[in-house]
């Protein structure tokens, strides 16, 4: 019973972090219908940036996430202006190939800059826990999860309560309509893409504390992100949160009760199962929006 509870706590904490890591992908797909396969690469970039600054300054890597996310905001902007917007003009079907290319090249660049050995940030609370009776709550996971929820809450508030957020949602609802109220659609899209990358920067900071990572870890991470959004229904932020918790629990239960070696396979098994059996996602949000044409 304790083991089960312990596993569930662990799964939920990780789920919160996964949700943060997937939020950028979800946002970009929901608004633009673009599958950003560079998401894993952006995440790893955020992790390396936080780790590097932590090494240099000794400050808390999670707090350094603010700086990583600022850097990724810029990278996201460049990625949109330099690649995504251009490819969309030529052939929208190729955006996923282009972002995939960015992911592959990006992995190479990271390896050239940071080398190919295992990294992870180990602040003072690394590997320590709070204890509640016989249960333990690892501090790093807890802080990361709280940080993730704060950032997600901030993103949600930004989308709901600011003009930038309203403009982004308006573009998602109807581009033509957005133009007619005077929104510069191209600019709103670029800001949205950059914003998605910036939240991923926070995700990277969390990753740097919770996991060891290599340049090619991006493969595993894009797999997890895809799993989260497939579970939650592509393009839905609340769906992504729920999907993330399901994945976190699935991985935790697998490593506790089955075999830790199969944990990394959980995201892919879930993806295949969901897409074969229930493509609309666990929570019934459809992959395709049905346009009502009268």
């Amino acid at each position: 019973m304790t083991l089960l509870l312990q596993t569930l706590i662990f799964g939920c904490l990780i789920g919160g972090v996964y949700a943060l890591m997937s939020s950028g992908f979800t946002l970009i797909f929901g608004v633009m219908d673009v599958i950003n396969l560079a998401q894993g690469c952006l995440l790893i970039t955020g992790a390396y940036l936080s780790w590097w600054m932590w090494q240099r300054t000794g400050l808390d890597p999670l707090l350094l996430g603010v700086l990583s996310s600022a850097a990724l905001y810029g990278i996201g902007w460049l990625l949109y202006k330099g690649v995504v917007a251009r490819v969309q003009r030529v052939d929208p079907g190729l955006t996923l190939v282009a972002t995939f290319a960015v992911a592959v090249a990006g992995e190479g660049v990271i390896a050239l800059v940071f080398g190919t050995s295992d990294r992870s940030a180990t602040p003072s609370y690394f590997n320590t826990s709070f204890h509640l009776g016989s249960l333990s709550v690892p501090k790093a996971q807890l802080y990361a999860c709280i940080g993730a929820l704060v950032v997600l809450g901030g993103l949600y508030a930004l989308l709901r309560g600011t003009f930038l957020g309203r403009a982004i949602r308006a573009c998602a609802s109807s581009r033509g309509g957005a133009e007619l109220v005077g929104i510069d659609v191209e600019r709103a899209m670029a800001q949205m893409f950059a914003l998605g990358a910036a939240t991923t920067g926070f995700g990277g900071a969390a990753l740097s504390v919770l996991y060891q990572f290599l340049p090619d870890s991006q493969d595993i991470w894009i797999g997890r992100v895809l799993c989260v959004v497939v579970l939650g229904g592509l393009g839905s932020l609340p769906g992504a949160l729920a999907g993330a918790v399901v994945l976190g629990l699935g991985e935790a239960l697998t490593s506790t009760y089955w075999d830790v070696r199969w944990t990394t396979a959980v995201p892919y098994m879930l993806i295949l199962a969901i897409l074969l059996l229930r493509p609309q996602g666990l929570f019934g949000i459809t992959l395709r929006r049905e346009g009502a044409r009268a």
Binding site: L96, G108, C227, A294
Partner: protein
């Protein structure tokens, strides 16, 4: 260049290429032999990828998984039975095709993004499974293949010639598919999947076949490749970089073409060898990633169509410079050719071919069609008219299955059809055209017509669409509508009115019992309007039933009987043209209903 020379070149060049490649091993140069072996593997992989992603438009990013599936299937089988991996290599192809069949289920209900994700997940999952399933696959330690049994002096010839043979087969398969109804159906799916479903292309079956075809030879090649490298390890066999190379090769050479992926592979693999030998040291792997990723990015940004299509376009422009484009030419007001004979259908007793009873359709709060009911009598030209927004096109969309009905029933030819999907309704005998003609832009006029299928017969899929009975029929129909001179033109090069005629021919190819025409006259010139009317009348005399939505009142009143008038989604009048044009209520509907005004003035503020 004359046509004969061109044909000679088209047949001769590949034969010469294969002959030259066959001679390479005789030089005894092991370096080039190995480089070509790798090139063949990549070319087979890229060619397979192209069948699904290039023809059908479903991009896969995990296609190298089929290499691994083939290699491990043959490897495990050969270890199990103690036979040469060559003997069991076909099993690798079978396994790959079966996995493809299973995964194609994903494409039944979803489009683009889901397929990309599922192929990527497949690649990663198989890699992990092979790594973890140590008892069978040897895990990360790998699986050692038996040593070749032949003498050292013939080097790697068996691998070389087998893979060359597979490449020839792969190209033949790709070329073969491109010529069949299956192949042009796949391109139709890529261009406009909903429209494809509406002209009788059974999209799930087509997509499954395409995915299997794209996997099977890759599986066999994987088996041979695994034997060649003599050692199977999960990292190399389920390698995402190999997928990247395949995508890159196909994109660079030209996706959707037969030779593009092969050309791409022959450019890319030597390039990769060169960079390999020049990039030494600890950073080699990273530099390769930057190189391939950067090259792929450059190709998508700068050469998104690929080398071959770009070159073909350039040649075409040079050749047609000075010649008049078909668009500029006017159609002559010529005599109509003989009306094509339509397949006789067994008829039921019912005189009403189509019957709508209490049909409604809501979009959120908007009621587009409201308790609508009317009949289309066999052999009639029934017109459906009404002001803008009265729900005419929605009625078409309900009849052909684009939208499900919210309430009510639709009967066609004595059976209820409102639960059937669009393709099933096409097979039942309903064909329709669109307000804005929806032709497949990548196909020629002839292919656009030949792609249509009036019924599903598996054997039909492999029939040629460029020659033989299907093409002959399509040609006959195009001649009938007056476009016999435009068979090889691209659909996009035609004028708007000509496209409407092609769409009519496309629908006739289905040999439907009922043809729905959505505004056949909108936006076309008076000559074409007369031609359209003459065609409709000729077909009608031959027994063809029509339901026509049209705004042009002269056209409607001179051609059709009876006329059904819709307003606000409901039938407000039904009768002979003369009665309709004299009907006060109809005029009200067109000019503005006074009851709205009465309500407004009753509102007080005005």
């Amino acid at each position: 260049m004359t046509a004969r020379n061109r044909r000679l070149l088209r047949r001769g060049a590949p034969a010469l290429g294969v002959l030259l490649l066959a001679l390479v091993p005789l030089t005894g140069d092991i370096y080039y032999q190995n480089m070509l072996i790798m090139t063949f593997v990549l070319a087979v992989l890229a060619s397979g990828w192209n069948t699904m992603a290039g023809y059908t438009g479903y991009v896969s990013l995990g296609h190298s998984a089929f290499i691994g599936i083939g290699a491990y299937t043959a490897g495990v089988a050969s270890a199990h039975w103690g036979v040469s991996p060559f003997l069991v290599a076909p099993l690798g192809g079978v396994a790959a095709a079966l996995v493809a069949l299973l995964l194609s289920v994903v494409t039944r209900r979803t489009r683009g993004p889901a397929f990309v994700i599922v192929t990527f997940a497949l690649l990663e999952l198989l890699g992990l499974t092979v790594r973890n399933w140590t008892s069978v696959t040897g895990g990360s330690k790998g699986l050692l293949m038996p040593l070749p049994t032949w003498g050292v002096d013939i080097q790697d010839w068996p691998f070389y010639y087998t893979l060359l043979g597979l490449l020839v087969l792969a190209v033949a398969l790709a070329a073969g598919i491109a010529r069949t109804k299956l192949g042009i159906g796949l391109v139709a799916i890529r261009d406009d999947e909903d429209k494809a479903a509406g002209i009788g292309i059974s999209t799930p079956a087509y997509k499954s076949l395409a995915f299997m075809a794209s996997a099977v030879l890759v599986g066999v090649a994987g088996a041979v490749y695994g034997y060649y490298v003599s050692f199977l390890d999960p990292g190399a066999m389920f390698d995402i970089v190999l997928s990247v190379e395949a995508v890159l090769a196909a994109l660079m050479g030209g996706r959707g073409t037969v030779w593009g992926p092969v050309l791409g592979a022959f450019i890319l693999e030597p390039l990769s060898e060169v960079t390999n030998s020049h990039l030494g040291g600890s950073d080699a792997g990273a530099l390769r990633l930057v190189f391939f990723g950067g090259l792929l990015l450059a190709v998508t940004l700068l050469l998104p169509r690929g080398i071959l299509p770009q070159a073909a376009e350039w040649l075409r422009r040079r050749r047609t410079r000075g010649a008049t484009s078909p668009v500029g030419r006017r159609l002559a007001d010529a005599e109509l050719p003989a009306t094509p004979v339509m397949r006789p259908r067994a008829q039921t007793e019912d005189t009403a071919l189509l019957r709508l009873t209490g049909v409604s359709r809501r979009f959120g709060g908007l009621v587009a069609v409201d308790d609508c009911g009317f009949e289309v009598t066999r052999g009639s030209i029934t017109a459906l008219i009404g002001p803008n927004g009265s729900g005419k096109t929605t009625v078409f969309n309900l009849v052909d299955g684009t939208y499900p009905v919210t309430a009510g029933r639709i009967d066609f030819d004595g059976r209820r059809i409102d639960q059937l999907g669009p393709t099933r309704r096409t097979f039942a005998g309903i064909g329709r055209t669109y307000q804005l003609p929806r032709l497949f832009p990548s196909l020629t006029v002839l292919q656009n017509v030949a792609a249509a299928c009036g019924e599903f017969r598996p054997g039909n899929l492999l029939r040629s669409a460029v020659s033989g009975a299907e093409a002959a029929r399509a040609t006959e129909l195009l001649e009938f509508v007056g476009l016999g001179d435009y068979l090889t033109a691209r659909a996009t090069d035609l004028s708007y009115g000509q496209r409407k005629l092609v769409e009519l021919a496309q629908v006739l190819m289905l040999e439907p019992q009922l043809i729905l025409l959505d505004e056949p006259c909108a936006g076309i010139n008076p000559t074409l309007i007369r031609r359209m009317a003459a065609l409709i009348q000729a077909l009608n005399r031959a027994g063809q039933t029509f339901l026509i939505v049209e705004h042009d009142m002269n056209f409607v009143l001179s051609l059709s009987d009876p006329v059904v008038v819709l307003s606000r989604g409901t039938v407000i009048a039904h009768g002979a043209p003369d009665d309709i044009s004299a009907d006060e209520q109809v005029r009200e509907a067109y000019l503005g209903a006074d009851f709205a005004l009465d309500a407004a003035t009753a509102g007080g503020t005005a």
